[in-house]
């Protein structure tokens, strides 16, 4: 991942991924409050997203 020096990303490009992660984790935070069973499973899956992404980006990506 070596972005070209001249390439400037727009605000929407910068924030689209963080926004998706925020929406997904908010779903997870609310989900387990609503019900048990499948709702719990939904919240485990969605709240795992930030943790999994962090691990992927920091540990499992090949260094450039």
């Amino acid at each position: 991942m070596t972005p070209r020096k001249s390439m400037h990303r727009t605000l929407s490009q910068i924030f689209v991924a963080p926004l998706l992660v925020a929406i997904v984790s908010t779903l997870g935070l609310v989900g387990a409050l609503v019900g048990d069973g499948w709702w719990d499973a939904l919240s485990w899956a969605t709240l795992a997203v930030p943790v999994v992404l962090y691990s992927l980006f920091i540990w499992w990506r090949k260094p450039n």
Partner: protein, 387 residues
């Protein structure tokens, strides 16, 4: 300097100072909060407790007056403040007792009772426990209400730091794709990437846990507001009465309350004169049966002289807000997997705090602005930082 640059600088200033002021306390909160996520498991591991009798699932519950008498017989000179159903163990109940009905309930002794036989189980002194010390450090640093409100203020600064962090994230990522980690670069660049990535991934969680934590610091004030508001209204006609010399049956009071509010389960009873009731009433607090409604309590006030229902109302919005903010802060509403995720997210928050302090120290020591590293983040590093 353009207006946009000036505005960004201001946000950078806000991010730096709100973070710096709260970091030390946030580290304390994150570190003490980590074992608190698993407080039940830790207590079970470190301390043995008397187990309630093994009974069939549909075994009848003990008469509450009998259970209460057994509890008081084991705590001479004490008076009951609260009778509490154990959320986690339907076979056990607690009787919370103090030296007098007006004594400080936070110093009460909690007596565990068998919910089916009504027999005394145990009344361990929890104040020396590891989880108790963590809880005190986490909620008020052993400094009472001022300590609590101070930590609440730190929580507000933390929330501002998260929000300003979102703003300063943008210029930092102008030339980088989402999730960039420049593994081959110097530590200051790597840790900046870690700080940015973890910070932006955790925005929703840190804001929710941070802000619900702030709300929890206001619990004492919310309770006072409720006492002087709704509770006073509901018991206005009883205002000048004193605590009845002889109380009616608590078992009957719970039955009256359960009958008045069908479909809800009793959660705890506050005795007349205790902080959650008037001087003349049993306040029976009932809860719903879903993860959300089980947090929302509804009081039914039963006259402790006549045994008749006085009133039952839903609690006002500010109390409901407090109740809902509790599970969202504790992470105890979705089983063990949710607790484990809570712990992982907590550890990542510690990573954000530590990398944040490092970036600030580095900037001061090198005399080179991290802003500049940010500004030319895909370009050549400043020679001062490439050591």
């Amino acid at each position: 300097m353009t207006a946009a640059t000036r505005s960004l600088r201001r946000w950078g200033f806000v991010h730096k100072w709100t973070s710096l002021i709260c970091t030390l306390f946030m580290l304390l909160l994150c570190i003490t909060g980590l074992p608190l996520i698993f407080h039940e498991e830790i207590d079970d591991l470190l301390h043995s407790q008397v187990k309630p009798a093994e009974v069939a699932a549909d075994a009848p519950l003990a008469d509450l007056d009998h259970l209460l008498a057994n509890a008081i017989a084991n705590a001479p000179g004490q008076v009951p403040h609260f009778l509490i159903w154990d959320r986690d163990d339907p076979n056990a109940m607690f009787v919370s007792v103090g030296p007098s009905i007006t004594s400080d309930p936070s110093k009460n002794l909690l007596i565990r009772m068998d919910a089916h036989t009504g027999a005394y189980l145990d009344a361990p002194d929890v104040t020396g426990r590891f989880t108790y010390i963590m809880l005190k450090l986490h909620t008020d640093m052993f400094a009472g209400l001022p300590g609590k409100l101070f930590l609440g203020l730190m929580g507000i600064l933390f929330c501002v730091a998260v929000i300003s962090g979102i703003v300063v994230y943008a210029p930092s990522m102008r030339k980088l794709s989402f999730g960039t980690y420049r593994a081959g670069r110097t530590r200051v660049v790597r840790w900046l990437d870690v700080h940015n990535l973890a910070g932006i991934l955790l925005v929703a969680w840190t804001l929710v846990v941070g802000f619900t934590g702030v709300i929890n610091t206001w619990a004492d004030l919310v309770l006072k507001m409720w006492q002087y508001g709704q509770l006073a209204e509901m018991t206005a006609q009883y205002r000048d009465r004193s605590v009845p010399a002889k109380l009616t049956s608590v078992n009957a009071a719970v039955e009256v309350a359960a009958h008045a509010v069908p479909g809800m389960t009793p959660s705890f009873v506050a005795f007349p004169g205790s902080i959650f009731s008037s001087k003349s009433h049993y306040a029976v607090f009932l809860r719903g049966n879903t993860p959300l409604t089980s947090r929302l309590l509804k009081p039914a006030l039963v006259d402790a002289e006549t045994g008749a229902l006085t009133d039952s109302r839903d609690m006002p919005w500010y109390v409901s807000t407090l109740f809902i903010s509790q599970p969202l802060h504790f992470g105890d509403y979705g089983g063990m997997p949710l607790k484990i995720l809570w712990a992982l997210l907590d550890v990542l928050t510690i990573v954000i705090l530590v990398t944040g302090v490092y970036l600030w120290v580095r900037r001061r020591r090198a005399g080179v602005s991290v802003d500049r590293v940010i500004a030319r983040s895909s370009g050549i590093e400043s020679p001062a930082l490439s050591s």
